[in-house]
Subunit: 623 residues, 2 copies
């Protein structure tokens, strides 16, 4: 990787920072955050402004350019990559290190007195604006919104904002019509006494209208906003996508409808002015509900006294609890996904010893097998296909420079998933195609014990996921081991592979309680720098648990694995398992054999079926 | 309990709320919080202002009196008690119930426009003031500080503020001199670039100066503040306590000292004016360190720009990590405490069948046995002596109206502890003096499994206690059971039995990481309303753990029980224990037998020794 030369770009940016065409008064610093206007995790090429100006294209980072300096804040995952991709114009600010200043402190230290710091108000979340603005103000500076994005003014070959066709999902996929979802949203609005609700997250818009798109890689979403009133529905979306007869029919755009279900389609870019009109029309005590992560621009459109901000919107919470149709879809998607992985692992078992399979080839092969399955749409994230030391890089993605050949002497870790029209998958398996060492088996078995401890946990209704995180670590902790990431994240239903409001992590204290119907991942791991990585990940469904007693009538919950892919028994030191754990593995493999076996049979994939049967032989524990 | 008649008192209070002698302008509402000026958990009689005005003397509650209304907010523990103790002038506001308004919302709903709400600025913590002031202001009212406490103006027979003699602790108890503590505090102040540090919590003052007092029941503290500068030490304390030659010698008040260790003794009441003088003397960038729980009055004495507020002070954190002398003292205290409990349980075993032992008699007997031990000072909290259904009331304290007789057919729960000059104890044992039912044994065994899961947990350095809480519940959860309190709290060394900054709870997210030398309780339970209560509590010391591996060189920790009192094996269903758990019990009992047995022998308590030996017979698990 050679760094991007940014001297000329920075010169141009510094010019527009003073150009009265774009700024009322010159700004002495300009902040370029990572995100888009929807606070998306994955962003479209046209929104990769920080990568454009700096060259650094990791998933997290904030650039700040002043008249003299250019600095980039990013976290430990990206120190090396950022240093390689950026030229000498840039200073790397290593977040998490003791001596690294915060953006605010740095700005205060380098800016001349009474400076103005500019930022695109559509990109910066309101809560971040508030914090930064306060810090700057107390040091005599001003954070100012710059309406036109200054990067866009110098980005001459900026790709167009994607505007791809939409997919309509019928009731067999969604279980609930968009009209019913609107009714239920309005009842929650009425409970909180709010008159308007603003949808800014792309997956929330997609979920509410039972539509999907492909504007952003891996996430089946489309660029849109929506504003829901008690009697009005406004959808802000561009392009001729609304001309599609399927979409028109789905949204009943040409039907005679009760006025409260009539969708007004408006240009994507008109959200601000429309919201300002809403803001101006409010009487005292009338409230507008927004996520506290919505952009500063949209939040400011509603006068402060009228705002009702929550960390999680009612759509985010409703979306997380899957109904029967969504759950069934997720089950189907995971069965197909398991078929693809059985094919892949069977193929790898034959090919790896030949020494011709690289990480990239294995990842491509996985995609190929998945794409053969019904309703396959795309991958749900960039495949982590990593062998040996690469496995210890938690967010690894093979590129030609790092691409390693799989062998019979190294552990192989594959974390991959797909979007199917009926569901989203995310599964990690760690395999050895030769003979694992006793130490590798020992570590793998601790990780497995943690995986089982979460998967088999029984806990009261109302329990938050972070209270389960230590269960996943206990076996590792006993031996002085650990892993430095959370244990699980929410998973969408043919939607984003990472979604709120629930999860299983030592860090997440703002998570919502787990409820039956929620779907999360269970993915403990162990990583030895320079040697290997181990992770065992299933997607699991929260289900009611039968218990002997029922304290305070609260009811209990547990997890049911949706992922049904064998866990390599060759890697297990069975003597480290308790009887209960051993039974869990055998029951799990029995279910893989039954459910995935039947589907492999149906699809006529006999060789993969033989592989599955071999891989699901019961473990026997020596007493 | 008959309610306190408050009609006349409320009339008087409403008069002084308008009396220009006390208020600049009349206040339309007056808030009477629970606490004292030091945010103490236990308060002196002179600080029980809320109990005085309302009759309700539970440990938590806030009274608000307006011209028309008088309302009391308290939580579920006290609904019944508050309803019984208050007359019809009062409205009970049941906190935690859905329809109960917050204090702010209620004030807004009952006050005439533009009202003033008064509160004693010394009693209300700064963070609470901020929240309430903001809410009132946004509704057009004002929260105003009323310098003279209005309750005190009408409380004609208010007891005097206690001013009892001090106890000096020499190095054999404290391990570190107060001078060394000051040096270490100043180095932490220098790190954070603060010039002044203000001590407001009573146990922090006591710890820093290696002094103890008895101004407050159960807590060996004394009323005082301290302000530490880089070159000055100011101790704000009343009475002739500073005339005591021991104290003068201990604090070196009459010695020729380096000026930075010279203690200036000032009147308790002069803290505000002295702090205001400090505040007025500051130059830009000079900071004063305060707890964010310090009173509004003291916080306001320092202009906002000069304040450095943290949830836990450096003293609070240093105090939590016990040094070798403190740890040894705690061990000694727990040995003596165990001797007293062996005597008690041996006595109960003989006496309970006679039907003459009540909860109060048992509690008194426990105190009597403790008081026979060397360096006994007082109890560390009100003994919870409860049998049968009373055991299910988590904060029960026997009073004549509820006093129940112990019998051979009910479970008995004793949660008790003492202050010894060398340490503080807190231990709960649950016993049956007849034959427990299978169900009682089952529940007891789940609680025991939870107790062991925490006590034997191994976890990395830097782990916060709340990450261990679910370990204590897992066995109960598996059977659909749970308990509605946290699992553990920090314990002081001859100081408050509850102290920060660490603990083990599903609720505590602001806790500091556990460190070797910290001391916490481990006390899971199970409570069946109307039937019985079970709790097993040891005080445990955080110690380094030996592990097979050492990930990232972080090191591991575990717990060592300081409490060494047999856990009644009669209550254990041994078939529910794993081999590991069974071994833990046997090892624990072996240690009780060795350590406490030797001390019983030394003290010539042969009958109690026989009891101990019987109670520590090893369990045998049927395979």
């Amino acid at each position: 990787m050679s760094p991007k030369i940014t001297t000329e770009l920075l010169r141009q940016l510094r010019q527009v920072m003073k150009n009265p065409k774009y700024v009322q008064e010159p700004v002495q610093a300009y902040i370029v955050p990572s995100g888009d206007a929807h606070q998306s995790e994955y962003i479209a090429p046209c929104d990769c402004r920080r990568a454009f100006i700096s060259g650094f294209d990791g998933s997290a980072g904030t650039a700040i350019v002043t008249e003299q300096h250019a600095a980039m804040w990013t976290d430990g995952r990206y120190f090396l990559q950022a240093a390689q991709q950026m030229d000498n114009n840039w200073t790397l600010m290593k977040m998490g290190l003791k001596d690294t200043p915060t953006q605010e402190d740095w700005l205060v230290s380098v800016l001349p007195e009474g400076s103005k710091v500019g930022v695109d108000p559509f990109i910066i979340p309101a809560d971040q604006w508030k914090r930064m603005s306060k810090a700057l103000r107390s040091a005599g500076h001003d954070l100012v919104p710059v309406k036109e994005n200054l990067i866009d003014t110098i980005w001459t070959d900026c790709p167009q904002r994607p505007c791809k066709p939409l997919i309509t999902l019928d009731l067999s996929y969604t279980g609930v019509s968009w009209r019913e979802k609107i009714v239920s949203l309005r009842s929650k609005m009425a409970e909180r006494k709010v008159l308007w609700f603003v949808l800014t997250a792309l997956d929330e818009v997609a979920w509410l209208f039972n539509l999907r798109g492909s504007d952003v890689e891996y996430n089946p979403v489309f660029f849109a906003y929506a504003v829901i009133g008690m009697n009005t529905i406004r959808l802000f979306i561009d392009g001729d996508r609304m001309m599609d007869p399927d979409v028109r029919e789905h949204l009943q755009l040409d039907s005679t409808l009760e006025p409260e279900f009539k969708i007004q389609v408006m240009p994507y870019g008109s959200i601000l002015s429309e919201l300002q009109a809403v803001g101006a029309s409010l009487s005292p005590k009338e409230k507008v509900w927004l996520s506290d992560k919505a952009s500063y621009a949209l939040t400011e459109a509603i006068p402060k006294a009228y705002r009702y901000l929550t960390p999680y919107t009612p759509i985010c919470i409703a979306k997380a609890v899957k109904n029967a149709s969504e759950t069934e879809g997720m089950r189907r998607a995971h069965i197909k996904d398991a078929v693809a992985l059985c094919e892949l692992f069977n193929w790898l078992e034959k090919e790896v010893p030949k020494g011709t399979v690289t990480e990239i080839i294995a990842a491509d092969k996985a995609e190929q097998f998945r794409s053969q399955q019904k309703d396959f749409v795309e991958l749900s994230f960039a495949t982590i296909s990593s062998t040996g030391p690469n496995g210890a890089i938690i967010h690894y993605k093979p590129v030609p420079e790092t691409n390693r050949t799989l062998s019979v002497s190294e552990i192989y870790l594959l974390d991959s998933g797909a979007q199917y029209k009926d569901g989203t998958t995310d599964v990690t398996r760690t395999m050895h195609f030769g003979t694992p060492s006793a130490y590798e088996k020992e570590c793998f078995t601790y990780v497995l014990k943690g995986h089982i401890a979460v998967s088999a946990a029984v806990f009261p209704n109302g329990t938050k996921g972070h209270l389960l995180d230590s269960f996943a670590r206990s076996a590792l902790w006993d031996s002085g081991l650990d892993y430095l990431h959370g244990t699980g994240h929410g998973v969408g239903s043919f939607l984003n592979v990472h979604e709120g409001p629930c999860g299983i992590s030592y860090k997440t204290f703002a998570d919502e309680p787990l409820e039956a119907g929620m779907i999360v991942s269970d993915e403990p791991g162990y990583y030895e720098d320079g040697s290997f990585g181990i992770r065992i990940e299933n997607v699991v469904l929260v289900v009611p648990a039968e218990t002997k007693y029922n304290f305070k009538n609260r009811g209990s919950l547990t997890f049911e694995p949706l992922t049904l892919v064998p866990i390599q028994t060759k890697m297990i030191d069975v003597n480290l398992l308790t009887e209960k754990e051993c039974n869990w593995v055998n029951d799990y493999h029995q279910k893989c054999r039954e459910v995935i076996g039947a589907e492999l049979e149906r699809q006529g994939r006999h060789e993969a079926l033989q592989w599955l049967i071999r891989e699901t032989e019961p473990l026997t524990r020596v007493q």
